[in-house]
């Protein structure tokens, strides 16, 4: 409970004593490159294989001749949009970006770089953390959209190349009974997960004490805490919004 309180206070300090708007624009742009653009490759690889494996495994389970083949792509589509793209990729996001944020801020803390900012009269939380959170909120939903597309495309390639489903049936399946709200739900989840990963990781890194060992501990703790928060939020959002 003490940590939760400290986390809430930490979030509150992001919005006081801010620097000029121009300063944040530049920082947000830099962080967007680090958080978003630099994550594209890992997102592309993971999501493509995830879609491919989902297609093969769904086909493996749907062996009844009564179930049409297009159901495979329908399942792949719904799994991707509802869960795989926003939630599983959030775990990847926590591993890639969360650990990076915690490590960076933890190192800045133990090498007194954060103290240097404070001494200059700069609100270090606002200066260092707010751009990361805003960049994550901008970039993660885009990465989710990309992951969703590549996951379905990976499924299409795996399905058609292995012959478990034809291209026409796959396309028919992904267009069949499409619920647009699912996209809104996925994007809502992606905003929540982006905030959780960026803020929890920043919190863990920002309050690192000690040396290199503690920076490593902070990074690990950032990833594990982010993952738990993602799964809890996932359940709550599913209950509330579906």
């Amino acid at each position: 409970m003490k940590s939760l309180g400290k986390y809430v206070i930490f979030i509150g300090t992001l919005f006081v004593r801010r620097e000029s708007f121009g300063t944040y624009i530049r920082l947000i742009f830099d962080e967007s490159v680090k958080i978003g653009v630099n994550s594209i490759l890992i997102f592309a690889i993971v999501s493509s294989f995830m879609g491919a494996v989902t297609t093969i495994e769904t086909a493996y389970n749907l062996i009844s001749p009564l179930i049409p083949d297009y159901v495979i792509s329908l399942v792949v589509r719904d799994m991707t949009i509802l869960e795989l793209a926003p939630t599983i990729m959030a775990i990847v996001f926590a591993g890639k970006v969360g650990s990076n944020i915690a490590g960076e801020l933890g190192t800045m803390r133990i090498t007194e770089q954060i103290d240097a900012l404070e001494v200059m009269g700069i609100n270090s939380t606002s200066y260092l953390v707010l751009p990361k959170i805003i960049a994550a909120l901008f970039m993660y939903p885009m990465l989710v959209v990309l992951a969703g597309f590549l996951s379905i495309y990976g499924g299409y390639l795996a399905g058609t190349l292995t012959g478990v489903i034809t291209g026409t049936e796959f396309i028919y399946g992904i267009r069949y009974d499409f619920v647009e709200y699912n996209i809104i739900f996925a994007l809502t989840k992606s905003f929540v997960f982006a905030f959780l990963v960026a803020s929890i990781s920043a919190y863990k890194g920002f309050y690192t004490e000690g040396g290199a060992l503690e920076v490593g501990v902070a990074s690990t703790s950032a990833v594990t805490n982010s993952c738990i928060a993602i799964l809890l939020a996932d359940y709550l959002l599913a209950q509330l919004l579906l």
Binding site: E19, T107, T111, E112, D115, A116, V119, M120, G121, I122
Partner: protein, 253 residues
């Protein structure tokens, strides 16, 4: 001028600072000395506001920094420059960007003017043609000098240095000490240095305060420190073989 009045600080029930008071005058190099773990750095952090004291106050030219509102604290902090023990340079920025950082964030100066100011400060600390180097590419002594340049770039009125000589060879240490002294006198700023280096005390100690186990035991200057009559300070000074030899030689004379 900076006045500290009756500063107390404890951590988890352990008293670290016991009512320390002192006055650090403008245009002088003020040294806080003592053995490791005596509370020097904690005192410095209390003075610059990185730690809030349990009791007591810090006055910057009469402005009460400890109990002042946020605006006053921000105003005072923007007049402070600080050199940290490890330099605390921003890893992701090169030397020029590090020195320019306070100007970028705290002022609306045109870029050319900022660059001129950065180059002037780097020249003042004896660093030229290193603008594009990253902190990882320069030596410890150069990092300290970049740290000093960053500390004075925004026309700071108060300069704080935490162990400016730690990890440096004797020649570089003397160079850093002299540089700090020169800057203090030239810019007429109030400088406070935390150190346990007796060479620094002898070189630049206009005002020296000795702390032992969180208590202020002595204050004076580098001229009268050998006549201190405080056992703990004598133990501290003459722990060094060289200082003992100088004392013995003086006795023989």
């Amino acid at each position: 001028m900076i006045e500290i009045q009756n500063i107390h600080k404890s951590f988890e029930g352990k008293q670290v600072l016991h009512g320390i008071s002192a006055t650090f005058e403008k245009g002088k190099t003020n040294l806080i000395i003592g053995a490791s773990g005596t509370g020097k750095s904690v005192l410095l952090k209390n003075i610059v506001g990185l730690i809030q004291p349990d009791a007591g106050s810090v006055l910057y030219d009469g402005r009460d920094f400890t109990s002042g509102d946020k605006d006053l604290k921000t105003d005072v902090r923007r007049e402070i420059g600080m050199l940290f023990q490890g330099g605390a340079l921003f890893d992701s920025k090169n030397v020029q960007e590090n020195v320019m950082f306070p100007l970028n964030v705290l002022t609306k100066m045109p870029k050319d003017e900022k660059l001129d100011r950065v180059n002037t400060c780097l020249a003042k600390v004896g660093l030229e043609n290193v603008n594009k180097k990253m902190p990882s590419e320069i030596s410890g002594g150069m990092k300290k000098r970049v740290g000093i340049a960053r500390a004075i770039v925004n026309h700071s009125k108060y300069l704080f240095c935490d162990e400016p000589n730690s990890g440096l060879d004797p020649q570089t240490s003397i160079r850093i000490d002299n540089l700090i002294k020169e800057i203090t006198e030239e810019l007429n700023i109030t400088t406070v240095i935390v150190t346990h280096d007796m060479n620094s005390v002898m070189e630049i100690g206009d005002y020296v305060m000795f702390i032992h186990q969180g208590h202020k035991l002595w204050e004076g200057n580098n001229q009268n420190i050998f006549d201190c009559q405080v056992k703990e300070l004598e133990d501290f000074i003459f722990a060094n073989n060289l200082m003992r030899a100088i004392r013995d030689q003086n006795k023989e004379k």
